[in-house]
């Protein structure tokens, strides 16, 4: 007897149902673990890929799918639209229009199991090479073969993936439960780029710790933000403090002569940063650094916008390389002489890192992140308030005895950022700058409204680029109202967004308040002076402090 092959997604679909039916983490993990235990490698690895957020290439136009689905269901455009409004999701709308009702295929029908991988490879991926007519015909065929939920999943996969409240961390935990392979090993093996093949799955769950792939990074240790009193996390002396840089967090790996530069998003960024590769090449083999790539002007970091010019630009030219030079600032040493150091305490790893960077002092492109220690929290707070002048975003706080653990583990690493307040203020006075900019008016005083009056609230001189400075300078010269000494008062017309770290009451200021570390966030060309903030609005920020 001829058995009908119904190319189903039954197993994966059941997993999806189970994940969708609960919001309890442990139940999600248990459902995935069951699934991994009972699924062949060809199926499981595709599920791992999808659940970790890997996406299929875009193959069929979303608009076309919508058009064909409407046509097949006999539903005019406006009615499809009304359905979509009720459902809120195109894949689900299609599944309900085409797969619902009593005529949907029964799972009890005689069908052959086809695993997810074969299904994806034989049914979905070939759509990429088909013309529209073939795509339509094949989709129509699939719609008659699949259950509503399978149709939903198929369109989610075609449309770039789905969310079912599962993170890579949970997938790894489930794989760990199903296979007995330690979670950190699994997480490590899932880093970087891989293809969903049964061979990769076999490596992934192989019990022998095995040699690490030459390019493979470790799961990044991530920090939690500190939102309350930092003393709540224990004595300051338990922690190592570093500047929190606004660059590109990366792992720099050299194994068997192969150099890899991985960004936090697990992108290989080798080609964007050739000078970092040269630095890495000068280091001994078998090392992995947890580091930050920073644009560096010789003394301090350049703004992130400069670094952005380098990012995503493969094989940068000489001009760009000299305009935006980058350095590697090393935070941590994760692997040395081929040994995984993650089980060592931070103090120990930093000691090894210090020795390594000492030995390579001559490498201009390599810096060690400055480690600071404080006996008391107020000292740490004082350091944090200097972050802006350092060109940093705040402080990183790392437990001195902490091991290097992948993911956002609580209580190991903290980030203590300066969080700027912003107000819109009017340029009221200007003064010439110093040094290179002595010929330009670059130091500004900004004001906010109290009734009909503008009251000075902040002085700031950084934050504009050269073109903007020249433009503001020209405005000042043309619109000077009075000059007293080096200071000019100008027609209140230009509005800027001013960012600052803190605000407090002050009897020394006419406005009655003082802001700390003000800087120009951006020029609000879209606003007129009358639209600037009022003093009352600024004072309201005080209330947000405590």
């Amino acid at each position: 007897m001829q058995r009908r092959r119904r190319w189903n997604l039954r197993r994966f679909s059941q997993l999806f149902s189970a994940l969708d039916a609960t919001n309890k983490t442990q139940e999600k993990v248990a459902a995935m673990a069951d699934y991994f235990r009972s699924s062949p490698a060809e199926e499981a690895i595709w599920a791992v890929a999808f659940l970790c957020g890997q996406k299929l290439p875009s193959m069929v136009s979303r608009t076309k799918i919508r058009e064909w689905a409407g046509e097949t269901a006999g539903v005019p455009d406006w009615l499809f639209e009304a359905c979509y409004d009720a459902v809120g999701d195109q894949s689900e709308t299609i599944s309900l229009l085409l797969g619902g009702g009593e005529s949907s295929p029964r799972s009890g029908a005689q069908t052959d199991e086809v695993h997810l991988g074969e299904w994806v490879e034989s049914r979905l991926l070939p759509l990429a090479d088909d013309g529209e007519q073939d795509q339509k015909r094949k989709l129509q065929q699939l719609w008659t073969q699949l259950t509503p939920q399978e149709i939903f999943l198929m369109h989610k996969l075609l449309g770039g993936g789905f969310r079912v409240g599962v993170s890579q961390d949970l997938v790894v935990r489930a794989l760990g439960e199903a296979t007995g392979v330690p979670v950190p090993i699994l997480a490590h093996r899932l880093m970087g780029k891989w293809k969903p093949t049964p061979e990769f799955f076999a490596q992934l769950i192989s019990p022998d710790a095995g040699a690490t792939h030459d390019r493979q990074p470790y799961p990044f240790c991530l920090a939690h933000p500190i939102s309350e009193d930092p003393a709540s996390i224990g004595p300051a002396s338990d922690y190592l403090f570093e500047w929190k840089w606004d660059g590109i967090r990366c792992q720099a790996i050299r194994r068997n002569g192969i150099l890899s530069l991985w960004s936090r998003g697990e992108e290989l960024v080798n080609e964007a940063f050739p000078e970092v590769l040269r630095t890495l090449e000068a280091l001994p083999d078998g090392i992995t650094l947890d580091a930050e790539i920073l644009a560096w002007d010789g003394e301090r970091p350049m703004p992130f916008t400069s670094l952005q010019r380098r990012l995503g630009r493969k094989n940068p030219g000489k001009k760009l390389l000299s305009e935006v030079p980058v350095v590697l600032v090393a935070y941590d040493l994760l692997e040395f002489e081929g040994q995984d150091l993650r089980e060592l305490e931070l103090d120990r790893r930093r000691e090894l890192l210090r020795r390594l960077t000492e030995a390579h002092r001559d490498l201009r492109g390599l810096r060690i992140s400055e480690g600071m220690q404080f006996a008391e929290w107020p000292e740490a707070e004082a350091a944090r308030s200097r972050a802006r002048e350092m060109g940093a975003e705040g402080l990183m706080i790392k437990g001195r005895s902490s091991l290097y653990q992948g993911g956002r583990k609580r209580g190991i690493w903290w980030k203590w950022k300066l969080d700027p307040f912003t107000i819109d203020a009017v340029l009221l006075y200007a003064q010439r700058g110093t040094g290179r900019r002595a010929s330009l008016y670059t130091d500004y005083t900004f004001a906010v409204w109290r009734g009909e009056e503008l009251l000075p609230i902040a002085k700031a001189y950084s934050g504009l680029n050269d073109e903007e400075i020249a433009e503001v300078d020209a405005f000042i010269r043309k619109n000077t109202l009075e000059s007293f000494g080096p200071v000019r008062s100008v027609k209140p017309e230009l509005v800027f967004e001013i960012a600052f770290e803190s605000i407090q009451l002050s009897s020394r200021h006419k406005s009655g308040i003082a802001v700390r570390f003000p800087r120009i966030a951006r020029w609000r060309r879209d606003k007129s002076a009358t639209e600037a903030d009022t003093l009352d609005a600024v004072k309201a920020l005080l209330a947000t402090l405590r």
């Binding site: 009615l79 359905c83 459902v87 809120g88 999701d89 229009l97 619902g100 009702g101 009593e102 939903f152």
Partner: protein
């Protein structure tokens, strides 16, 4: 000569001028024909009520004035000022009726709420032919196509068994009138004990008293202190979620049975663990087939997607307009059971 509409919309409700009565009025009137006992159709304070005999006691429980209610058998013709009024079964809940109004050969049918699917707790829907059909469109979108209730019943029983095997109590939420009894009829009492909330118990009693056989369901508040409810099934209205009443059951799994559970977003936003798609309203394919087979040239729509269904019918060549009514259809929360304040 232009024909006068047999029924027209008045501030009080849908009115038959020739017969001088209202159908499911929402303000106090002297004479009301009531399709069924849900609160958006059956309101307190009418002078006299006419309803299907099958639903008479339920309506009395809802509006409180049994002596004013006249029950008639399905299919019996009531003559009133030259108008013939016939109640046809609507299959929505026990005693739910469609109202057929006939005058000098012109026939209008008001469906009330209805469904075509099997439901052991009420007389099945009966199609009537008419010139003008006033139909509900609570689920009037093509995404709403119901699976067989027997299959949903199997899923519910399987869910109950699975919870039981984990030592948990199953709490299944549905409206006290209609849904609870239909769910009860789908449960397999051999799995374990069934309990029901006090708000539906007296209605369930009326179902039984009027000839509807249902598995027994106990009132949990009347069980001795310290009773272990693990493994049992509890039927409760949606308003029981988060109440102290629910606490007695210990480790529970909750589910809701409603047509809205068809939509994943609604299912997930709800406070329950599981959603079963079980509705007492007509779905899209049945709606279209009823309209077609009624022979109506004119279709007026109420509830939910009235405007959309109407536009679709116009594109199909029918005369159709939506009617503005305060009917709520299958409320997504517990609204269906909220008794509106007397106007």
């Amino acid at each position: 000569m232009a024909k006068v509409d047999l029924l027209q919309l008045r501030p009080e409700g849908l009115y038959c001028e020739i017969g001088d009565f209202y159908i499911d009025p929402w303000r106090k009137v002297h004479r009301a024909v009531v399709t069924h006992a849900h609160s958006d159709h059956a309101r307190w304070g009418m002078g006299r009520y006419l309803c299907a005999e099958e639903g008479r006691d339920l309506l009395a429980a809802r509006v409180g004035t049994a002596s004013l209610i006249q029950g008639v058998a399905f299919g019996e013709v009531v003559h009133h000022r030259g108008v013939q009024v016939t109640l046809l079964p609507a299959g929505h809940i026990r005693g739910s009726a469609q109202v057929k109004v006939e005058y000098q050969g012109e026939i209008w049918i008001v469906t009330g709420d209805y469904k075509l699917q099997n439901d052991a707790t009420c007389t099945p829907f009966e199609l009537g032919r008419c010139h003008c059909l006033i139909t509900e469109t609570t689920f009037g979108l093509p995404i709403y196509r119901w699976r067989a209730p027997e299959a949903i019943g199997h899923e519910i029983n399987a869910w109950w068994r699975a919870n039981q095997s984990e030592g948990r109590t199953s709490v299944l939420l549905g409206y006290a009138l209609g849904k609870t009894q239909r769910l009860l009829s789908l449960l397999d009492p051999s799995i374990g004990p069934i309990y029901e909330h006090g708000s539906s118990a007296k209605l369930t009693e009326i179902y039984r008293a009027t000839g509807c056989a249902l598995p027994p369901a106990k009132n949990p508040t009347q069980e001795p202190k310290g009773t272990d409810f693990a493994g049992s099934m509890v039927l409760a209205p949606p308003s029981a979620v988060g109440s102290s009443w629910l606490r007695r059951f210990g480790d529970v799994r909750t589910a809701q049975a409603s047509g809205w559970m068809q939509i994943r977003g609604i299912r997930r936003r709800g406070a329950v663990d599981r959603g079963f798609v079980l509705s007492d309203h007509v779905d899209w394919p049945s709606l279209l087939s009823v309209i077609r087979e009624s022979g109506a040239e004119r279709v007026l729509t109420t509830h939910g997607y009235a405007a959309i269904v109407s536009r679709y019918l116009v594109e199909m060549g029918l005369d159709s307009t939506p009617l503005e009514t305060p009917f709520t259809g299958e409320a997504n929360a517990e609204e269906e059971e909220v008794e509106p304040a007397p106007v």
